[in-house]
């Protein structure tokens, strides 16, 4: 049967084209959907990390630990972008006229830290100075204070460190600084209204020795039951090169855990590394899974619709195929031989249709995302996506062949009247289902746009809650566009048939 299949391909390419069309539709739709999902998912790591203030915190297990060599060591780890010193402690600040005396959270960073973190708004120059937040400024005695005196709380010996005030700082967005750095509630933000920021050099020279004398042994960060900010901590804030994370959030989450362990192994026992990126990446990974499910729920009906329509369009071949099978059976071909011929022709149609469909999918997604659709997608994942789309074409081919071979051949010499020739028009065309579906889809979207259903509300923040019926819009649009494409195809075929006087 190979010779006949080969001659059909060579001498009747329009038959191959029409059969391939039945494959092209579902492969293109499913391929485009899957590729778009991949592109969306690949962008989610960057989005998840975008708002990350500090990727990892290397917390000293004791205040006596010297983190300078640790910082130098960590800087050499591939993927580490920046390492910055950070210290914090609960202290008492007194105004120069001694009218004001408040408990505050003291933070110590190098002046460069303020430049590299834009979420520290309104910061004045820090070098050798202290910066007060609005709550401290509002406390009695601090409104116009040009110096503050810093002491440790409790029964500690008075420290009496006097630091000139360099200005103000807005810490309302510095959630990382107020986040519990370790333990079961890691990441929870503690409510501490008053805060002072001092130069790390001042902290290291004048405050840290007293803290070391007060808090001997392991710091609170080593306590798994930590439920509040530690009374004092010294740490390194590690910025990871975000381009080093795998673009898939699931893989990025695993990579982040591995990076955390690598950093911890650089100073075992000296530091505990808290992975701040783990939670947003895990959320992004879950979001990616939800997005995949959602897109597939929207894309699969579209693929099924166009597959059914593609099979319908290819049904124009049915008569020619049935007649050919009948002729072969009449001349003594067995069912196996007829089936083998159908399989060979189906395989050729699947191959051609899949290639064209995948090309269309890649082109459409590339146009939609503005760069090649394969960029950023791991090769294995890309291959799996393309194979899955091609499998949809294989399924369509299988269904078409099953219909073709299921029916017993009618041994007839004269072709039966074609539906188009006899004036018969499918019910969906008579009912203009394509136009109706498009109108319904557009109407749903228009109503939602008009009612503000597609706009974010302040409460929703970065998320957008959609009504369930909004999801009907893409389904209706899929159906409408698919049917419209088939209507156009059938009109084209009918006009060609009329012109040539022959069937396909």
């Amino acid at each position: 049967m190979r010779w006949l299949a080969a001659r059909t391909l060579w001498r009747a390419p329009r038959r191959l084209a029409l059969a391939a069309l039945a494959v092209t539709f579902p492969v293109a739709v499913l391929g485009a959907t899957l590729l778009f999902i991949e592109q969306s998912v690949q962008a989610m790591t960057a989005v998840a990390l975008e708002r990350q203030q500090v990727d990892m915190r290397a917390l000293a297990t004791t205040l006596t630990a010297d983190l300078s060599p640790v910082a130098r060591n960590i800087r050499t780890v591939p993927g580490v972008h920046r390492v910055e010193r950070f210290g914090s402690a609960d202290v008492i600040v007194t105004s120069p006229d001694r009218r004001g005396r408040v408990t505050v959270r003291l933070f110590a960073v190098d002046p460069e830290y303020l430049q590299s973190h834009p979420w520290l708004a309104g910061a004045s120059a820090l070098g050798g100075h202290a910066l007060l937040n609005a709550a401290v400024r509002a406390a009695p005695g601090f409104g116009s204070a040009d110096r503050v005196r810093i002491d440790l709380p409790g029964d500690s010996k008075p420290l009496g460190v006097s630091v000139p005030v360099g200005g103000s700082i807005d810490l309302r967005r510095a959630t990382t600084w107020f986040a519990i750095p370790a333990g079961e509630v890691q990441g929870d933000v503690a409510v501490v209204p008053r805060a002072v920021v001092v130069d790390y050099a001042v902290f290291q020279r004048s405050i840290l020795p007293a803290l070391r004398a007060t808090f001997t042994g392991n710091t609170a960060v080593a306590n798994p039951g930590l439920t509040d900010l530690p009374p004092a901590s010294v740490e390194l804030h590690v910025a990871i090169d975000h381009s080093a994370y795998p673009s898939d959030p699931g893989r990025a989450a695993k990579w982040s855990v591995a990076m955390q362990r690598v950093l911890e192994r650089r100073a075992p026992g000296t530091i505990i590394v808290a992975d701040n990126a783990a939670e947003p990446l895990a959320e992004a990974s879950a979001d990616a899974t939800n997005a995949k499910v959602l897109f597939l729920l929207l894309g699969i009906p579209g693929a099924l619709v166009v597959a059914a329509l593609g099979v319908s369009a290819a049904a124009a071949l049915e008569e020619a195929n049935q007649r050919e099978n009948a002729l072969l059976r009449l001349r003594g071909a067995t069912d196996t031989q007829v089936a083998r011929l159908a399989l060979l022709q189906g395989a050729a149609a699947w191959l051609a249709g899949s290639l064209v469909g995948l090309c269309i999918a890649v082109a459409v997604v590339s146009l939609a995302v503005g760069h090649p659709a394969w960029r950023g997608v791991p090769p294995g994942q890309l291959a799996f996506t393309l194979l899955l789309a091609a499998a949809a074409g294989l399924l369509t081919t299988g269904v078409r062949l099953a219909f073709l071979l299921r029916r017993r051949p009618r041994v007839q010499a004269e072709p039966a009247a074609r539906p188009s020739a006899s004036g018969w028009v499918p019910r969906w065309r008579r009912a203009r289902l394509d136009v109706v579906a498009l109108a319904v889809g557009v109407l749903i979207l228009a109503v939602n746009v008009w009612a503000g259903g597609l706009r974010q509300t302040p409460i929703e923040s970065a998320t957008l809650a959609l009504s369930f019926y909004v999801l009907l819009a893409p389904v209706a649009l899929w159906l409408g566009v698919g049917l419209l494409a088939v209507r156009g195809l059938l009109v084209l075929l009918a006009s060609r048939t009329t012109r040539s006087g022959h069937g396909p």
């Binding site: 060579w10 001498r11 009747a12 002729l327 072969l328 001349r331 003594g332 067995t334």
Partner: protein
């Protein structure tokens, strides 16, 4: 109905296909050639299906083409042939496997009377050479007069002519 001593209604699947391939030739009204195969390839089909060796296929197809006087048109597709030539291809294809019986259903239905006479004469002559019986259905009395025995179907009833004398030569 028995053909070559076999009740073919009792056959099924591969046996039926093999029996049809080796014992029955078909000529029908209209376009019964595979449109994507040349005249020679159309004639070759029954031999290919029967697994005949390439060398023997070639010689039998060549002989069949000569028999129906289509050697010059061997490489043409059916759409490049006239109606009469297509029917000659059908005759050659029906007889190339040396069948016991050729079933012809209105083989001249789409042909003008002159071509019809040529095609029928060719069919009967070729069948005679192959020693094949021909069962031919026709509405054309001019075609029917070539037959050894005529069975008329009138208003659903069979009207049988006398059985001819087997000793009388010249008819298939």
């Amino acid at each position: 109905m028995r053909v070559a001593g076999v009740d073919w209604q009792t056959l099924g699947g591969r046996e039926e296909a093999r029996f049809r391939r080796r014992n029955c030739g078909f000529v029908a009204q209209g376009m019964t050639a595979l449109p994507q195969a040349t005249a020679a390839e159309n004639i070759e089909v029954p031999l290919l299906l029967d697994g005949v060796a390439a060398e023997e296929r070639r010689s039998r197809v060549t002989a069949a083409l000569e028999e129906v006087e289509l050697t010059a048109h061997a490489a043409k597709l059916p759409e490049q042939l006239s109606g009469g030539q297509v029917q000659r291809v059908a005759i050659a294809r029906a007889l190339v496997a040396g069948p016991t019986v050729v079933l012809a259903d209105e083989p001249t239905g789409n042909l003008d009377s002159e071509t019809a006479q040529v095609v029928v004469a060719l069919l009967l002559q070729a069948a005679h050479e192959h020693q094949s019986a021909v069962v031919l259905v026709t509405h054309d009395p001019q075609v029917a007069r070539h037959a050894d025995r005529i069975v008329r179907l009138r208003s659903g009833r069979l009207d049988l002519d006398p059985v001819p004398d087997p000793a009388q030569p010249g008819r298939a």
